[in-house]
């Protein structure tokens, strides 16, 4: 029952907090505890009237602008921000389900302290900040700042900036963690296009897209922006229908929508791209900028690559034929294709194909963003080694769950166990946080300030403003707030670097700094108010950016086949881990809407699975839902099998993001974690995590697993459901 007092509390909380907050810039203060406040209700608090706030979605790194419907002080619905150049009004399942995180029953409602028996007890913020700042202060005074490690997700946000400045003031180490192969793609862009950062891919303007493993409709980079572009690519205003060829060992969501799907042997994508580039050169596609690439066309043949990739030569030749005839072709590389042991080389090969096709400057354009230096495998191993020798005194987990999301073989879980003191800054007791000494309960992104630079943007510099759409539900703070308060308590260099009162003040100061550095003077408040209204500040790229493609580059190096951990005799299958839009690396697992949303390819809900080619399953005597044990050199898991007609017979595919040890009632103990099977290997050039380079063995356990699927017969059975004409 809601008591009368509670109703007034709601009113004052939701109403005054947001309405007056946004107008007067004091949103982070507790609401006034007065009954009189609703006599003159704030402008956004008229019962029965929706208020929409523009803000930033932080469920994945894409940086989509969203529009949130707020009623009576509570967020009700998330839609895409139609004025945002990245999301253009679209919103994915995960972004919409972030409301499940905001109102999650297992969200931390206050800071908590480990009770020494594996549990946690509620505590006060001043206790938490006191203990943490005392420990940090002591380490700093002893000149042992290097024993402090900050683990973050590495966004291009002002929040990340605050963390970096804080770590710098302390002399602490920062590990920016991701599974994404951004480092490899940046290396490829630098080598082949000659610019820093990630390219912007203009799918809408392409008449043909060849994608090497990039699931751009499902999970790769910026799925909403690419899906919007894909809609135009298919049925655009230009009146021609784009052709999509997808090359990958396991049919992804993008592969399911492709015109042709070519199941290349894992790790051979680079060689195939290079052979296609050579073929295009032979067919006279290359311009003057690749005039010195002659050696390439002599070295690489289509027949050799077709054999290597285990695809009939006729299909590769047909693809080359079509590609040579395309006017505005585009090649994409990503996902597992860039996550082998020679991932950077494979992505360079894809970039080389683009270069021969004349894509740079047309469908491939320079872009800002992803300046972040992500941690390589040696960096992470150094952290684990330091922890093993007892040299890690304090770890701050800033909104990341590496014990679940990253390969277990990296030893992060053990490192967290061995660290003297661990504080988790998160909204949930996730797998990493369950080993922490303190849980610093953080806001939902819908309750606080921040920003992000979309990377890749939409060919512009896109900075999205994150602002609270409602008052805090619980006694929480944002990561930036926590860092600022710690800095104030520590004094000295930290306080000097971060003198701001709270996340709002810091965000405003950052925007002022950026605008000033760009020479945008004038009324800051006016400009910032406009950004609050639009949810985004969007600027054309600086003069000369469009010509940043270097006129001439040396020919690409060879693209060697990926090497896999585990011998072929002992481990006959290649494991193909993949990221899905709903679960990402684990962020969606505690959201009931995502758990209950059927997987697009397999229609599985509530749990994970391993995908096996029907022929392979037949040989092993497996049927749908049978429990199997999958073993790699790094670990083993038990999961039910799904027969998937879009998986190579020598590949086992598994979705990432499942199999949490903790993380609340919806996630805990559901499915198996594919990341626990991955061997700790880095890319040969960049050291980025090679997460698609592990072999596995599969053993039937002789019993049924728990597999829940929706839907009925998966064939149309002659019914004209997909339209007249039979075949589709």
């Amino acid at each position: 029952m809601v008591s009368r007092r509670d109703i007034f509390k709601y009113a004052a909380g939701g109403g005054v907090g947001v309405g007056v907050g946004l107008l007067l810039g004091e949103v982070n203060q507790r609401p006034l505890e007065t009954l009189l406040s609703t006599h003159i209700p704030p402008e956004d608090f008229a019962p029965g009237i929706d208020t929409w706030y523009k803000t930033l979605c932080r469920m994945c790194p894409a940086g989509c602008g969203i529009s949130v419907k707020v009623r009576e002080g509570r967020a009700k619905k998330i839609e895409g921000n139609a004025e945002h150049p990245v999301s253009r009004g679209g919103a994915c399942a995960l972004g919409q389900a972030s409301l499940n995180a905001l109102y999650n029953p297992d969200r931390l409602r206050s800071p908590m302290r480990a009770d020494g028996e594996g549990g946690f007890v509620p505590a006060r913020w001043d206790e938490a900040l006191e203990e943490l700042s005392a420990r940090l202060g002591a380490l700093q005074a002893a000149g042992m700042g290097r024993r402090v490690w900050v683990l973050t997700g590495g966004a291009l946000s002002s929040g990340e900036e605050a963390l970096s400045r804080f770590a710098e003031a302390l002399g602490a180490n920062v590990l920016r963690l991701t599974l994404d192969t951004i480092a490899n793609e940046r290396a490829a862009a630098k080598a082949i296009y000659g610019f820093e950062g990630l390219p912007h891919y203009d799918i809408a303007s392409a008449d043909m897209v060849v994608s090497f493993g990039a699931d751009f409709l499902g999970s790769w980079r910026s799925p909403i922006a690419y899906a919007k572009a894909y809609g135009e690519f298919r049925q655009g205003a230009n009146g021609r229908r784009g052709h999509l060829a997808q090359i990958e060992p396991r049919m992804s969501l993008t592969g399911a929508n492709a015109d042709e799907w070519l199941p290349a042997r894992p790790g051979t994508e680079g060689a195939l791209a290079l052979a296609l580039a050579a073929e295009m050169l032979r067919r006279g596609r290359g311009g003057e900028d690749v005039a010195n690439w002659g050696g390439l066309s002599e070295a690489m043949s289509l027949a050799g690559a077709a054999e290597q990739a285990d695809i009939p030569l006729a299909r590769i030749e047909a693809l080359a034929e079509r590609l040579a005839a395309a006017e505005t072709p585009l090649a994409l590389g990503g996902g597992a294709a860039g996550a082998g042991t020679h991932g950077a080389a494979a992505l360079s090969a894809v970039a080389a194909l683009n270069r021969v096709l004349g894509a740079p400057g047309n469908t491939v354009r320079p872009n800002l963003g992803y300046a972040t230096a992500y941690a390589s495998v040696p960096d992470i191993e150094a952290f684990a080694a330091e922890a093993a020798s007892g040299n890690v005194s304090l770890v701050l987990l800033a909104g990341v769950d590496p014990a679940h999301d990253l390969p277990e073989s990296l030893g992060i879980r053990q490192a967290l166990e061995r660290a003297e003191f661990v504080a988790s800054l998160d909204s949930f007791i996730n797998d990493s946080a369950s080993q922490a000494d303190w849980l610093l309960a953080t806001d939902s992104f819908l309750e606080t300030w921040g920003d992000d630079i979309s990377s890749p943007g939409a060919g512009t510099l896109t900075v999205t403003l994150q602002q609270p759409v409602q008052e805090r539900l619980f006694d929480t703070l944002s990561i930036t707030d926590i860092v600022l308060r710690l800095a104030a308590r520590l004094g000295g260099a930290a306080a000097k670097a971060l003198p701001h009162a709270d996340a709002q003040a810091f965000t405003r100061a950052e925007w002022a700094r950026v605008w000033q550095s760009l020479g945008l003077n004038g009324d800051f408040n006016e400009r910032f108010r406009l950004a609050q209204r639009n949810g985004v500040w969007d600027a054309p790229l600086a003069e000369g950016m469009a010509d940043a493609v270097s006129p001439e580059v040396p020919p690409p190096p060879a693209a060697p086949e990926s090497e896999f951990a585990g011998g072929e005799a002992e481990y006959p299958f290649v494991l193909h881990p993949y990221v899905t839009q709903g679960f990402r690396e684990g962020a969606g697992a505690n959201l009931p809407w995502i758990q209950e949303l059927p997987d697009p390819l397999t229609s599985v809900v509530y749990g994970s699975w391993a995908e096996v080619n029907p022929a392979t399953a037949g040989q092993l005597g497996l049927s749908m839902g049978d429990l199997v044990e999958i073993e790699s050199p790094a670990g083993k898991v038990s999961v039910p099998v799904v027969m998937h007609p879009g998986v190579r017979p020598d590949v086992i595919a598994m979705p990432l993001g499942h199999g949490h040890r903790a993380n609340g009632r919806y996630a805990e103990g559901r499915g198996a974690n594919a990341a626990s099977l991955l061997a700790a290997q880095g890319d040969s050039a960049t050291g980025a995590l090679a997460w698609a380079a592990t072999r596995v063995a599969l053993k039937a356990l002789g019993k049924r697993g728990r597999l829940t699927r929706t839907g009925g017969v998966g064939r149309t059975l002659g019914r004209q459901i997909l339209g007249p004409g039979g075949k589709h």
């Binding site: 509570r74 009700k76 298919r234 049925q235 007609p645 829940t708 064939r715």
Partner: protein, 284 residues
Amino acid sequence: MTDKLREYRADGYFAKFDYHWTMAIDLDRCTGCGACVVACQAENNLPIVGEKRVRQGREMKWLRVERYWDGDYPHARLNFIPILCQQCDKAPCEIACPVFATYHNQDGLNAQVYNRCIGTRTCAVYCPYEVRFFNWFTYTWDEPLEQQLNPDVTVREKGVMEKCTFCVQRINRAKDAARDEDRRVADGEVQPACAQSCPTDAIVFGDRNDSDSAVSRKMRDPRAYEVLKELNTAPSVIYLKNAREPLHAANGGGHHDDGAHAEAAEPHAAAGEPRMAEVESAVT
């Protein structure tokens, strides 16, 4: 009553009213991502039924993405089609309800009156699209998830049938606003949650009585078709066929018949769907 049913089921009956809401779904744009499914769940207060209930077939999804495989490895292909209430002008469900809890409104919507429904579930049996969902339980939300519930939409209780409404709460709001300004609802002014969220703009919604509306233009596309047209239900959801080349052509030969690998060879239409003659005899 049957006279009335005959009247409104006559062709062109809805053209005389202000609006005839229609949805067009372009399967060449649809990627099967499921954003619409979650948008519908959020907008319409659909419960989280839990794994056990899903296993029992009690899933509550007014909008679902059906998936149909064609061919076999390595020439396999997956096709997606979002299926929701087709808002049929000649709806088999409407003639079945003993208490007129489901009826046709003048905007061409197949409406469901929750407080009239007595839970016979006959309508769900008559529906060939299987888009009606019965509340076998009063579902609850783990506190504080209930704070997300949309105040514009009723939360249903045990014993009530429910289904897609074309987000009638949004339609009514747009009509109210238009009426206040003494004008028609403009094309594109109202969008159901699914259409709004769609990342590829595959779903277009609007008024079929306006021949210039985006949805009317889509209906004139040569790819336009109705699902289970042979049942003569006159659906208000129009699909635009995927424009991909036929599977065998795309792979340079290798003909694959989708019926040949079916898990059951019986055509669905013969297996207990209501036939047109039966529907008609129920009307008379």
